[in-house]
Amino acid sequence: VASPTIRIDPGAATPVTRQIVDQLRMRLVERALAPGDALPSVRRLALDLGVHFNTVADAYRTLAEEGWLDVVQGRNVRVVARPTPTANAETRIRFRRRLDQLVADARAQGLSAPAVARELSATAESLKS
């Protein structure tokens, strides 16, 4: 089984810390990274990505605050079991708003409505499996 990887684009508008957080969270939600798994140290991941140590440290800290990671001095980073929080109405509204914004953004960049619908259906299907 190929080990999970992380991918960043330093030239993108999204800050690199945010890119790292988003991608790691995706791997954690997908269970590509399971509780007990070790992650590279702050130093090693920063070296491999070619970004400042603080960028990776901030990303790890954010995920630790969300309860995904246990970070000891930035050296030993482990995925921890995280109880699934109960989503309230506000969470659903916020998700819907972000989804609408994302769809609008995709359509503004030229993606047709059927193409967007196909992508959303594929995502919905993958959630069922």
């Binding site: 990887t5 992380i6 991918r7 960043i8 684009d9 070790a38 590279p40 070296l47 491999d48």
Partner: protein, 326 residues
Amino acid sequence: MTAPSGPIILFVLLVGVLLHYVPLWRRQGLWFGVTVAPGFSETREARAGLWRYRAAVWAGSVLAIACLVGGQRAALPWLALAGMLCQAISATLAFAVVHRGMRSFAVPPPARTAPLAVTRERLPAGAASVLVPVGLIAATALYLFFTTGDSGLDRTWRHVYGPLVVCAAAVVFQLAMAQVIVHGTPRGRVAGTEGWTTRFRRATLRLLVFGTWGMTAVICALSMATGGDRPAALSWIAPLVILASTVPFAVQLVLLMRDPGSGTDGTPDDCWKLGLVYFNPADPAVMVEKRFGVGYTVNFGNRALWWIVAGGVLLILLIAAVLRTG
């Protein structure tokens, strides 16, 4: 000046041949230190750049040979050194000029990737990487300590242990460099190049570690056989050991460069000054892969490097002081 210049001319020609091929020893996504599209090296512009570089290299080499011959005839030994310097400078400048010309064909750097797996990397032979040269030096020092008194030769401490001290310093330097490669270089920043980068790192580390073993063995043998009791066979065994401990690994590195899966190195083109010097304060890597030549170069923008340089200078001063007092 009566020394024969034939071997030196041969050496200059050999350097010329090496410089002729050096631009081809690169990751396949790079051309003269610039990130280019796949297949760019086959274009007319790329070949013209290569031709210009090679013309400058051979012009510099011919000038070097002319200086060697002229220096010999006019009894001006410094002219030979100036000639060889000309050869190196002409190749470096030619590379920088062609690099600048190629910048207009640069493509945006690909997105960077990093594995999330935790791997414990070690030197090729593990603890033996350090224990072998340290053991050899220690054993030689002990042998010299117990035998030099009986040799009847009037030798100072510096003459007996000097080569060993210099060898120990070289061992420290080379093994420190190997450790920096293990702990201070990226494992492949571009998707699909991780495997190639791992092979390249291993080959470089093997060259460093086994080259260190070969060098230590030769210096120790020469140290033990100083004076009039040096075996004749040592004069051909010593170069043979050096060649055997370096050439196979150097060849392996050069062959790796022809692998089509090498891609690019993920460092920004803008941070390569003249295509030769890497200066990127935003990159925590202490060393990165060279874009001119094979191996690793330092990141001049990394502050940790200056501590390493300071340590190296201190070590050299310490050795000079020790040898002077000996």
